[in-house]
C-alpha cells in the first residue's frame, strides 16, 4: 500500500522567502507528526496532530513555523522568512493511533541560501 508521501523532495529558497512543505499520511492514520533532521541537532520533534484534538506545537522552534492539517489528512508545514539555520530535512510521519508505530516519509530537503 501507499506510504507517507512528501513534496517537494528538495527545495532551495532564498533567505527571507516563505516555503510550504506538504505531507500526505497513510490513509486512515489519525496521528501525524513533523520532525526535522539536521546535522547539528539530529532528529527533532516539531508538531503533532491527533485526530480533532488541538495540535502539540511544543517543538516548533520559532513563530516563523506553523502547520495545519486539513480534513484530518494532508498537512502543510509553513516556514516564513526562512533563515539559513532552517536548512534541514523535514520529515513527516503518521501512525494509526495511541502507541502506534510511526511510519516516516522520505522527507523534504530544504536548503536556504
Amino acid at each position: 500500500g501507499a506510504g507517507v508521501s512528501q513534496s517537494p523532495s528538495n527545495k532551495v529558497t532564498e533567505k527571507g522567502k516563505d516555503v510550504e512543505l506538504r505531507c500526505d499520511p497513510i490513509s486512515g492514520h489519525t496521528a501525524l507528526y513533523w520532525y526535522r533532521q539536521s546535522l547539528g541537532q539530529g532528529l527533532e520533534f516539531l508538531i503533532y496532530f491527533q485526530g480533532n484534538s488541538a495540535p502539540d506545537k511544543s517543538g516548533l522552534p520559532s513563530d516563523r513555523f506553523s502547520a495545519e492539517r486539513t480534513g484530518g489528512s494532508v498537512s502543510t508545514l509553513t516556514i516564513q522568512r526562512t533563515q539559513q539555520e532552517d536548512s534541514a530535512v523535514y520529515l513527516c510521519a503518521s501512525s494509526s493511533g495511541t502507541s502506534g508505530e510511526q511510519y516516516f516519509g522520505p522527507g523534504t530537503r530544504l536548503t536556504v541560501t
Binding site: G59, A93, E101
Partner: protein
C-alpha cells in the same frame, strides 16, 4: 522530559562480526522504545519496538533488542552483520501514557560494515 543517549557515534565492523549498539534513555515513567534504521538514500524504517511484555524483542533482518528497565537501556544486537546493514541507526522513545506520542530520538549511530 525524555532524553535518549547513543554513545556510539560511528561503528566500523567487518562482515560476520557481532553487533551491539547502546541506547540509554532518561524518563521516570512507562515508555515505548524503538529502533529505526536509515539506509543510505532511504527514509527511516522501523527495525523493532518494545511496548510491554517480553523484554527481548526481535525485529526485521535478524536484529533484536533487550529492554533492561533497571538500567534504562534498550541495546540493539545482531549476531552476524552483513554489508547491507551499513546504515544509520536511531534509538527513540515515547511516553504514550501521558498522551505524549512524540518520539524523542538519540543522535544516531552510523554503522559501516567492511566486506
Amino acid at each position: 522530559a525524555q532524553s535518549v543517549s547513543q554513545h556510539n557515534h560511528h561503528v566500523i565492523l567487518s562482515e560476520a562480526a557481532s553487533l551491539e549498539l547502546g541506547c540509554n534513555y532518561s524518563y521516570g515513567g512507562t515508555v515505548n522504545l524503538f529502533w529505526y534504521v536509515q539506509y543510505p538514500g532511504q527514509h527511516l524504517q522501523l527495525l523493532l519496538k518494545y511496548f510491554s511484555g517480553d523484554p527481548l524483542v526481535k525485529g526485521i533482518k535478524g536484529f533484536e533488542a533487550e529492554f533492561i528497565k533497571s538500567k534504562f537501556s534498550f541495546n540493539l544486537r545482531k549476531p552476524s552483520v552483513q554489508w547491507s546493514d551499513t546504515a544509520e541507526y536511531f534509538c527513540a522513545v515515547n511516553a504514550p501514557n501521558f498522551g505524549n506520542e512524540k518520539l524523542t530520538f538519540g543522535t544516531g549511530t552510523r554503522l559501516t560494515i567492511i566486506p
